[in-house]
Amino acid sequence: MNTNTVNSKKAIAQLTIVRIIVYIILAILTILCLFSFYMLIINSTRSNGELQGGFTLIPSTHFIQNLVNAWNDSSINIPRGMLNSFLIAALSAICATYFSALTAYGIHAYNFRGKKFAYWFILAIMVIPSQVAASGFVQICYKFGLTNNYLMLILPGIASPVVFFYMKQYMEAVLPMEIVEAARVDGSNEFFTFNRVILPMLKPALAVQLIFTFVASWNNYFLPSLLLTKSELKTVPIMIAQLRSADYSKFDMGKVYMFILLAILPVVIVYLILNRNIIKGVTSGSVKG
């Protein structure tokens, strides 16, 4: 056996060990991610009594019972709550993504005085905690009688510096100015260029941000709980909190887990719809790579 063969065998062995370690880490991370979902599904099949009894990995038989209990609970209206949440989350996601992309495009494609300042000012907003900004916002809403109004939960989402930053970075990576210029020469006005040429090129980034903003808004408890007081306007997170804080005689953990399971279904559906666009690289082939 010559030295080369020994070296190559050593290298293969080392590579195999590294791969095994990597796969073990990935497997642990995957289990950690999926474990909470698994537990949610298991717990939604268990009765309140069984849940009080402690932790188990084996499903029980109370799935339908929990579903019926949650659906028929008089203190909450699940279909209404899900519709409310969906309306707010979908509109917030659309507004935040579209207007952030538009802002990012403005900063990316145009040269104007104060451009750098505008960019850094928007980014600086990221460091302000949303709770700090919300305190003033809630006061204004109460002063002007704007509580119980969905617009107050949708419109603030338009100013989303995180989405703006993501879109700006994505544009820098994939959007050559020649395409914008080609559209200008072709006779397209600036707004038409953005809507018909630029937005389709940003599909993967838009899909990612739509999912993120949809999920963030769907799970948002803080602002809706402060601004929505009418029961018919309440969203899913408020209703879940309501179920959890029910008095001892009505408290049913099985019902709570079932509602949480139902609550994540729309998010899963939205993810499955947009997932295709994330993977699809629509921009390939537009310019010389």
Partner: protein, 392 residues
């Protein structure tokens, strides 16, 4: 079809924040950084640009990177503001007019196709924006596709096409509009050498078919020579020479043009311009060449005195002789029908000689000494200080 006039065009890019800070600190700002001049107003990318482009003329702007050729083209397109000067298309002042209202079409270096649209939609995009009838759009797109040989790809997306096919689509997108002026910004520089030659011929054919005014930007002197009715050679934002390909090749205005046009580039030798029996001659170590009558007349008309000069001779105009300007062979490149011999002359400068006679090919091994001379009508004489051609 249109006449394009550029009058005293100047482009200044305003100073960046850092440059302004330097200025505020009292540092001198009127200087040259790299190629371009920097003044108090900013970086001067193009200046004193005067050009009258005739209707249906094919003009090529050529020069090295950063010379201002693309900036000039973009000013014509309306994609850059004109800092000073006037631009006329068909006698209409175009300075403040938006690109879409200039009736121009442009082909970009990296195609700039809309990736989410099919080839057909890419080509039809501008016509749809004009609210043209669908049937008319279809006729125009198919006609253009036929000219460019891309009919079979009309339903494909750009990513499913090769580089050459994409560039054809980009050209197709421009020709469907039947524009007054056709602008092309280095359209072939992303293609490989073989495809570039093929597309060059296609552009020539296309020009005959669509017969409009072309303004073409390239850094490739071969493209400039083969495509242009006239060539505009630029350097550091200034026009160096305007002329037909033959004019700029035969009578370069200065040392830069002489070196830029022609491949391999012109040989430059240190020599002396003398008057011998009342006639101008160039004196080089080992040989003296009395210039042709035509050159005599031009130099006399300029009242050129005896002086140290740079003598320029193209590699294809060098003649082998028994005793003359001596060089030592460094390497030889066999090109098939000819041989390029790289030499070092007596002053240690590099020279290239092109030999076409196959009988000579074996003689030039590394280290061999050869003697050269030059025919009187192809020797160029440049001022050592100004680098201008003394015949001009």
């Amino acid at each position: 079809m249109a006449r394009v006039i550029l009058k005293d065009i100047k482009k200044i890019y305003p100073m960046s924040g850092d440059q302004k800070k330097k200025k505020a600190k009292g540092k001198k700002t009127e200087h040259k950084t790299g190629n371009l001049q920097i003044t108090d107003k900013g970086v001067v990318a193009v200046q004193a640009f005067n050009l009258d482009i005739a209707d249906k003329e094919f003009i090529v702007l050529v020069g090295p990177s950063g010379c201002g050729k693309s900036t000039t083209l973009r000013m014509i397109a309306g994609l850059e503001d004109i800092s000073e000067g006037d631009l006329y298309i068909d006698d209409e002042l175009m300075n403040g007019v938006a690109p879409k209202d200039r009736d121009i079409a442009m082909v970009f270096q990296n195609y700039a196709l809309y990736p989410h649209m099919s080839v057909y939609d890419n080509m039809a995009f501008s016509l749809k924006l004009k609210h043209m009838d669908k049937k008319e759009i279809d006729v125009k797109v198919r006609e253009a596709a036929e000219i460019l040989g891309i009919t079979e790809y009309l339903d494909r997306k750009p990513k499913a096409l090769s580089g050459g096919q994409r560039q054809r689509v980009a050209i197709g997108r421009a020709i469907v509009r039947n524009p007054k002026v056709f602008l092309m910004d280095e359209p072939l520089s992303n293609l490989d050498a073989k495809l570039r030659n093929q597309m060059r011929a296609e552009i020539l054919k296309l020009r005959q078919k669509i017969n409009t005014t072309f303004i073409y930007v390239t850094h490739d002197q071969t493209e400039a020579m083969t495509l242009g009715d006239r060539i505009v050679i630029m350097k550091d934002g200034y026009i160096q020479q305007i002329g037909t390909p033959q004019q700029v090749f035969d009578h370069p205005a200065n040392l830069f043009v002489a070196g830029f046009i022609g491949s391999p580039q012109m040989n430059m030798m240190d020599g002396r311009l003398i008057k011998k029996d009342g006639k101008y001659a160039v004196e080089l170590p080992g040989t003296t060449v009395v210039l042709s009558e035509e050159k005599q007349a031009r130099l006399a008309a300029n009242d050129v005195a005896e002086q140290e000069v740079i003598v320029g001779v193209r590699p294809e105009h060098v003649i082998l002789t028994d005793s003359g300007y001596r060089g030592t062979v460094e390497v030889s490149e066999l090109m098939g029908s000819s041989m390029h011999v790289h030499l070092t002359d007596v002053h240690g400068k590099d020279m290239v000689v092109i030999l076409n006679d196959k009988k000579d090919f074996d003689k030039f091994t590394t280290g061999a000494q050869i003697d050269l001379t030059f025919t009187p009508d192809v020797v160029h004489v440049f001022d050592r200080t100004t680098q201008k051609n003394l015949e001009w």
